[in-house]
Amino acid sequence: MKRIIALAIKDLRILLRVKSGFFFTFIWPVVVAVLFGFVFSGQSQGPRPLRVVVVDEDQSDASRAFVHKLASSGDLIVDQGVRSDAETMVRRAERSAFVVIKPGFGNSSARMFYGEPRQIEIGNDPARRAEASMLEGLLMKHAMGDFQKLFNDPAASRQMVDGALKNLAPLGNSSPAAPLRRFLGELDLFLGSPPLPPTSGSGSDGWQPVRITKVPAAGERAGPRNAFNITFPQGVMWGIIGCVMSFAIGLVSERVRGTFVRLQMAPLTRVQILAGKALACVASISLLQVALFAIGIGFFNIRVSSYPLLVLACACASISFVGFMMMVAGLGRTEQAVAGAGWAILMPMTMFGGGMMPQFIMPGWMQMIGNFSPVKWAILAFEGAVWRGFTPSEMLLPCVILLGFGAVCFAIGVRGLREA
């Protein structure tokens, strides 16, 4: 056992002295976890407000109030300007769209139920239709807000109704406006009557087109506390991949440079030599896992739901990928051949397995292919212990798959090394 430990220490010492190996094993995973954590955190705060230019061609109190409302809503970042500048800015993609408040906006605001409606024009790049649709919805929302506000202010409503009745009076009772005059008369009567006491459950928020109530419905399991709960398991995977490639190439280097043969001339069995390699790889993967999860827990608010299961997940992932390392080392006779073959297998395995982007944002067919990747099961095991709240029986599936994969790869790798 002392010889196996000495072999492992030698390999770890060499790993720490190969700058590229050290970087991809210990630094790169942290960069991936932190960087992507921040990227996904930004997305989780909701869509960014649209940046638009508003052209107020009406310049009435109502139009200015509307512009102010848009600017203070938080839905939009509003700059004001003239139409020509606005068109230029949209054409240059400096703004998502421009909004023109047409002349007569103020007058139309004073007569909601007849005459020309308030007119707003949207100018946008046809290639950005989604943003234009979103902008249309936001404008409609704020226009409806004016309507709601009117109903909730009886004095303002009566003022508007009185004005409208005066304007319609010259048309007489036989004109097409007669039904509208009757409606406005009834509305005036309604607005002039004392308010009804609130009925049960009606609340006192005034008139609303629809009341939407949010009811918290906690899931059976809590989701990830933040994006780092997703990116740190991915970062650990990147570190494991770095270890796998470093040790696989290191093993081939030993063959190419004659030190593997030299070890076989020493009083060591082949099993001892390979065990030393495996121990070094397990040790470095374990060190990486401890370091990365410690950083995540200490600085990025990762809360582990079960430490024993996390240890189990880490152990299974380590063993699995040590077997994979042995297989990769047996794929070629030179460092270049092994590096090429190793990355050719690892990249798709990592991509489909969710090491590059979370599996849940992949299309179904990619998720299905990912089932054949040990990366998927390793990440699932990590997540199961960190935030998915797996039970030991739920942890069994990813762990068994990882161990099985590792055993098969180890056997193939040892055979390949023997033949080489």
Partner: protein
Amino acid sequence: MLTFEHVRKSYGTTVAVDDLSLTVRRGEVLGLLGPNGAGKSTAVNLAVGLLAPDAGRVLIDGVGDPRSPRVRARLGVAPQALALYELLSGVENLRFFGEMYGLAGTALRNRVAWSLEFVGLTERARDRVAEYSGGMKRRLNLASALVHDPELILLDEPTVGVDPQSRNQIFENILDLRRQGGTLIYTTHYMEEAARLCDRVAIVDKGRLLALGTVDELLRTHGARPTLVAQTEHGERRIETDDPLAELNRLAAIGTVAAFQMERPTLEQVFLQLTGRSLRD
């Protein structure tokens, strides 16, 4: 100490070692002399258990098979291809190889220090091997074979590609080991090295043992006779003779001998005599 008994080893259709029978006595330096591809390295690999013979057997002290790790622990090997970890320092390499042979603690420290001193690398012990010259790497390769104080040392072409200074250092090291009673197998294709360092020389070619004996025995048996080269008034005279003094007296009696010298036969001539080819062909 080491015995080959009718050993045969082939790689596909190529016979690397063919019916080799040979015994290395305790305390002697045995040279395996032959051109490249003669089967010297294969013989070394058979001796250290790296290869299994197709036929015959290899024994250490008459009983142990070198394929057993326990038996291999008694051997020290400096392979022809440098087998060192370039990212480790000289002392780290030796410490590692010492540990592979079961050394630990004070014994390990002492043997590592002795090995470094022996090959003259104490001052560069902490430098990474990648920073060593070719000759220094060869010396460290030799030290890695000696660090565990083996009973039998196998040196496979230990002076290939080294500068004259390191070559002389390695020669001195081997002569020191010889004086200390070490048992060595020394493979080379340089007949001067074999003649200078070895007690006995085995001449091999195409996997077969052609001749075995001390250098004098080989020269006497397979080499030409010594040649007397004399400058007379009739020009240079070359006379093969077993009694050069008598020939010199005979020449002096019939004329004037301005100068003379003796040319002894070489192992090169022995190899030529045995194979019809030069050692460097």
